[in-house]
Assembly symmetry: C2
Homo-oligomer: 218 residues x 2
Amino acid sequence: MIYIAGMDDHTDRTRKPRADAVRNRELVLEAAKVVFNAGGPEASLEAVAKRAGVGIGTLYRHFPTREDLFEAVYRREVEQLSEFAEQLKNAKDPVDALRRWLRSGVEFVATKKGMVAALALAVQSGSELHAFSFDRLTKATGSLLDRAVAAGEMRADISPEDLLRAFFGMCYIHDQPGWQSTALRLLDVFVDGLRVQPVAKPKAHTTKRAKPAAKPKR
Amino acid sequence: MIYIAGMDDHTDRTRKPRADAVRNRELVLEAAKVVFNAGGPEASLEAVAKRAGVGIGTLYRHFPTREDLFEAVYRREVEQLSEFAEQLKNAKDPVDALRRWLRSGVEFVATKKGMVAALALAVQSGSELHAFSFDRLTKATGSLLDRAVAAGEMRADISPEDLLRAFFGMCYIHDQPGWQSTALRLLDVFVDGLRVQPVAKPKAHTTKRAKPAAKPKR
DNA sequence: TTGTTAAGCGGAGGCTGCCTCCGTATCTTC
DNA sequence: GAAGATACGGAGGCAGCCTCCGCTTAACAA
């Protein structure tokens, strides 16, 4: 078989992916979304496979680990969330923009029961697979945070990662009756804390600030 | 059998608990502490039983659920933590006292790998069993918080429960390389946010404050 | 079309952990 | 020492995880 230069349709001489494989992947994803949103992140993978109408083996071939499946299911949602940040970049008040973004995050979490676990995955432990979500969210947060810092309204020693973790932490209590209002309240406090303090504090706090959050190598 | 008033040794006419039962309970607790601290809260209960040198049935009789065991294991630690709060009540600067308490909490979590799960249990979901830990911690937090509020240094619309949840949330990312410094930084920001803002904000934020955290009925 | 072959399918089966149940052993009490 | 209450332990049933491999099917070439 001769490779024809310039033939850029599918640049590599690889077989087209099988139609059934593509279809099944989609079926699994759809089923997983339903099952995870209903039963939480602990839900049985066999249940997902059954709902999708595929064998358990098929599920595992497409998504070798539970986390893979998770990431795939919530990728779209994460993307949505970061797009909202994009929009907010044009808001007048940068602090308010950040605040609003965080608040919208709470709402997001509220509607998707599995979302917290997805965020956990994105924010937590430096495994490989969650890279996408983590990057997206970090960038989204960063763009809002940076603006506020540049405007001189916020302290500069909190990294986007830090903020993300704080956000996540505050949403983590998401299976209590009134968790939403709690989370919103806590986030407000946090954002207030992020503001550059208008006057010197009465007592200089010597709790030494950590050096500006070392960016994770990546 | 005649009940003798004033005989206050064991006030009720019940059998003395069996010696082996008492011993086994202790063995299980000790084993659980080791296993949980090493393997995290997911660790196998059968492993605990094996380590304790008792049958799995014995373990379950003493601690019908995993949570029961958890609570028992970390009860002492929780107590210690709240005692520290007690000491701090005499500190001069109430804001600083609170800050220090939270920070010490981070250290605590750092040394006990299972501690976060224990806190989660205490802070999360209103099941029955965690009442003790939750109460202890709420009171500890409350006493410090109240003092700061009374001194006019902190806003009054955050309940001890809220604060506890925030603390927990920030510790939740406890399996990352640098999580400790992150958590400390985040807590500092949060405490700053809690302070009564010295001057009116440049732009009145209309994000309406939730009504002063309704105390959970209990 | 048809044949070839890589890719994908599915579920049996091995494994681990959860939890219950009950015959047996041990301790307390008298 | 005997009786009776209490606790012990682990077999066994169940569920979920994940792997492995014989069978099926879609893509491609001719």
